[in-house]
Amino acid sequence: MTGLALRTAPGTSLPGKATLALTALCSLLLLVAVWALLTGPMTLQVNDIFASVWRTLQGESLAGSADWVVRELRLPRVVLAMLVGAGLAVAGCVTQGVFRNPLADPGLIGVSSGAALAAVSVIVLSATWLQGWKGLTGPWALPLAAFAGGLLVTLVIYRLGTRQGKTQVALLLLAGIAINVLAGAATGVLTYMADDQQLRDMTFWSMGSLANARWTEIGAVACLIGLPLILVCTRARVLNAMLMGEQVAGHLGFPVQREKRLLLGAAALMVGAGVAVSGMIGFIGLVVPHLLRLSVGPDHRSLLPLSAIAGALLLLVADTLARTVMAPADLPVGLLMALIGGPVFLILLVQQSRKWI
């Protein structure tokens, strides 16, 4: 069967199966987006949705309450869910590729909690120690701080877990636990320093929620997730070569160290931007690439774009469920993702442990 795949489609770079999966996932994403826009306390018709989306694209002013609900409440949330989901899934794909292990999810190795700690620090300390930061960076204050936090943890983890170009996965995960504990403790200390309003903002970080979606933030996040995502997708060849180890990737003519720094930086940026607007949402980077590898294989040329679409889809579904299952309460989507992701993590762990023994 694979022999067939070798002979067919000479002009395209994607195997047929991946193209099919991409088309299917894209159409599914569109359908789910419409469903998400329809879902909520106020009942709307499908043509209301299309009319509102059209008016948004045209840049026309708000017309009526239905239009307002779609354009100011539901649409930003849907767009944000897709952006963050895509970013987290692709970031997971990249860290797993670079560290050469399916367990190297940004959440598990502590990148997300580093980013969250940096964001919380900005919230709590912006009046005192970090006075200049918000004035300096404006609306980008939180995403940039989160990016810096995420990047710092990535570097530390990389130093700790890599010996002579080989990544010790057990060490990587244990270091991740240590960093998660440290970041948790530091966040706890900050909790004591915070006032009421700051405390409310912080709860949202610790559990992860898309409830605060605003167009102003979405603009910044779209850049900070979109650009690294495109950049990463152009690096599929390196990631494929690195599946065989850094040594072989070097033999194949890739400047491995430079590419690795670039890829990890891009991943930290996507995670940081996601964490800055939606707090800690875990397991997307773990679940999505894993399931996709099972169905289309580990070739990054198809895996990266598919991860972006599937990540967007998964977080959109999870978020829509999160705001409807216990309505009017808005369940933090991070909790829901943990419920889905926890078991997948355990299954992966069992599979991996067979290799270690």
Binding site: T2, P10, P102, R237, N240, L243, H251, G253, G297
Partner: protein, 276 residues
């Protein structure tokens, strides 16, 4: 055009791993690098592939310093087969082989080459299998197909200026495949590719190489024709062998040299040695 190492010295942790090693690989050469464990064979190879910069000395590819050459340019001329390659995620065999074309960015247009390389290495029937599920020998043959496909254009345009470096890579292959692979490698050498292979198995080296580089504790003991392997006194020095064993190995190697394609008149040469 040659791949040459000039006076390489490498020191790691105060220990001399290589001291003053020079060699030259020219078009069509079949050089085997032999020595006891820790003699510096793999370090020498790392220097030749630019993974490791020597503390002293330079590696030149076609007169140009290897570390100044763009990595892609280097990869188009110099293919390296490592000892073993483990995959973190289960690519299929044909996908692994296609990766060999990444320096040329023409994975799709060269499918017929990839097929030929897989057939040459006897892994065509495994093309749809996951690499991680293969046996050690099958993995090595798959990797060899990937490495050969990296410099495949040699088969059409001639191999002048292309080099193949092999690092003890057939330890897991069965004897039949070991010899058939080395015959294929010889064909590449015949087309003009310069081949340098780090080897553990003296018999395989005797049956394949035209020259041997013998290392001991980072220094060159001898660099000359493959006949060096039939001299007990040299084997005794290189491998710290007791005299009787060295004799046995030398006799064995003489026998294996019959199969060597570099041996136009094996019988006469043999007689010369046995009466010497």
């Amino acid at each position: 055009m040659t791949l040459s190492a000039k006076h390489l010295s490498v020191r790691l942790g105060g220990r001399h791993i290589l001291s003053d090693v020079s060699l030259e690989v020219s078009s069509g050469d079949r050089i085997a690098v032999l020595g006891a464990n820790g003699a510096g064979k793999s370090t020498l190879l790392s220097c030749l592939t630019n993974e490791l910069r020597a503390d002293q000395g330079d590696v030149l590819l076609a007169g140009q310093a290897l570390h100044r050459m763009p990595a892609t340019e280097r990869a188009r001329r110099l293919a390296v087969m490592p000892q073993s390659v483990t995959l973190s995620f289960p690519l299929r065999v044909h996908e692994v082989v296609a990766l060999g074309r990444s320096p040329h960015m023409d994975e799709v247009r060269t499918r017929h080459w990839q097929q030929e390389a897989m057939q040459l290495m006897d892994v065509w029937h495994l093309r749809g299998r996951e690499y991680t599920g293969l046996s050690g020998g099958e993995q090595q043959r798959t990797q060899m197909a990937r490495v050969l496909v990296q410099i495949w254009s040699c088969r059409e345009k001639g191999g002048e200026g292309h080099y193949l470096l092999l690092d003890e890579c057939f330890s897991a292959a069965d004897p039949a495949h070991q010899h058939s692979i080395m015959n294929r490698v010889s064909e590449f050498a015949g087309a003009g590719v310069g081949v340098l292979a780090v080897m553990h198995d003296m018999a395989l080296a005797a049956s394949w190489a035209d020259r041997v580089l013998l290392l001991k504790q980072g220094e060159v003991v001898a660099f000359g024709p493959v006949e060096l392997l039939t001299m007990p006194q040299i084997l005794q020095v290189v491998y710290d062998l007791p005299g009787l064993l060295a004799n046995d190995y030398a006799r064995n190697n003489r026998h294996w040299m019959i199969r060597n394609p570099a041996n136009p008149a094996p019988a006469e040469r043999l007689r010369e040695y046995s009466y010497a």
